[in-house]
Symmetry: C2
Subunit: 219 residues, 2 copies
């Protein structure tokens, strides 16, 4: 039986099969697919006479939605990905990422829970956000706010549980900073910016409404 | 050393001190303090010429905010509550509640994380919601929506992690249904109702804004 590279060393992973793809293979497939999606959504969004900000947001929601559904969705429903011997891309992604956080290979309940909520609820909701922005739905901001807040809550649970459990799930400090910190940083910064923007837009809408009717009835 | 009553039986709790207060003592103190707060907020809210719905919401936010800060805040920052020999009320609450979910006594990382976010962020935010409703702030709905969504996310993490870990943390089925299910049910039903109401109010505000200016600029 092959020894796995993950920390803690006594993590029990019977049937572990080592990575077939290199880190650069895995990252370049992810980067180029993401770039393809973003480019397609950018071109497509040009048809809707939207502001540049709205078009960037449509790209983000398409990218993050597909990441949640495909990448994270595969993880949630594939508890034995570390045994995969076929070189299947999605299994390779999680074998590689587990070097930065072995709780993925070890099937930590907190990680599986957060990824489950993200893949099943936030993924489809992100794709709905692309549609909502494109068609100018009245629920566009509150939907984007809800998903962003969910992403922030998930990331908070992800890091706080790790700290409480000793924050020692990385093979080495390169993987710690590149995968565990680096790969997740976008899901703190971007949802935070979007949540603040939506909060402000929603407050502005209520001020408009309040100014319009002297006695604000809906409030 | 006293044997603890919790499940799993091999849960290691050195220095455990048994409950001093009875279940009816603990519940009656909680019920009467809650009733006192709700009554005071109800009377106080009468000064603000608010609708009955808004006054009920102010009572809810005061109740849930103080529960988050005092009860759950104590738990988060008192890892050794199960050793308390003084009969201190808040320690007794968590010794008793642990009969329904021993992850509290066992300091499960997922539970501590959710309770931490709830006590530190959602607690103060709930009290801010009382003020926001009373003074008709433009951020009133989005704030209530954000807290409700946080409560729902927290409850989802709470139950899903338990299920993934075998759902066997209750002393018996009475405590399972009374504490683990019953005591948490309000924090599913009420946040869900409030979140849906806020969602609708916010959509309505954008429809008003959209109808007012033919070319919706803010959107």
């Amino acid at each position: 039986m092959e020894a796995h590279p993950y920390v803690p060393r006594d993590l029990h992973l019977p049937g572990y099969a080592p990575c077939f793809l290199s880190m650069s293979n895995i990252l370049s497939v992810f980067a180029s697919s993401s770039l393809l999606i973003v480019t397609l959504v950018w071109i497509f969004s040009g048809r809707f006479k939207k502001t540049k900000v709205d078009r960037v947001l449509m790209c983000w929601w398409a990218f993050t939605g597909l990441t949640h559904i495909i990448l994270e969705g595969y993880f949630v429903f594939s508890p034995e990905f570390f045994k995969d011997k076929t070189g299947f891309y999605l299994a390779e992604v999680w074998k590689e990422y587990s070097k930065g956080d072995s709780r993925y290979a070890g099937r930590d309940a907190g990680v599986v829970t957060v990824e489950g909520i993200t893949a099943v609820l936030e993924g489809p909701a992100s794709l709905l956000a692309v549609y909502a922005i494109a068609t100018g739905k009245s629920y566009s901001y509150i939907l984007q706010f809800a998903i962003s807040l969910g992403q922030l809550y998930g990331t908070a649970v992800y890091y706080i549980t790790a700290i409480l459990e000793g924050d020692n799930f990385s093979t080495n400090s390169f993987y710690y900073y590149a995968y565990y910190i680096g790969a997740n940083a976008s899901w703190i910064v971007i949802p935070l910016i979007i949540a603040i923007r939506c909060w402000r837009k929603i407050c502005a809408a209520f001020r408009v409404q309040g100014g319009q009717t002297k006695k604000p009835k809906v409030r």
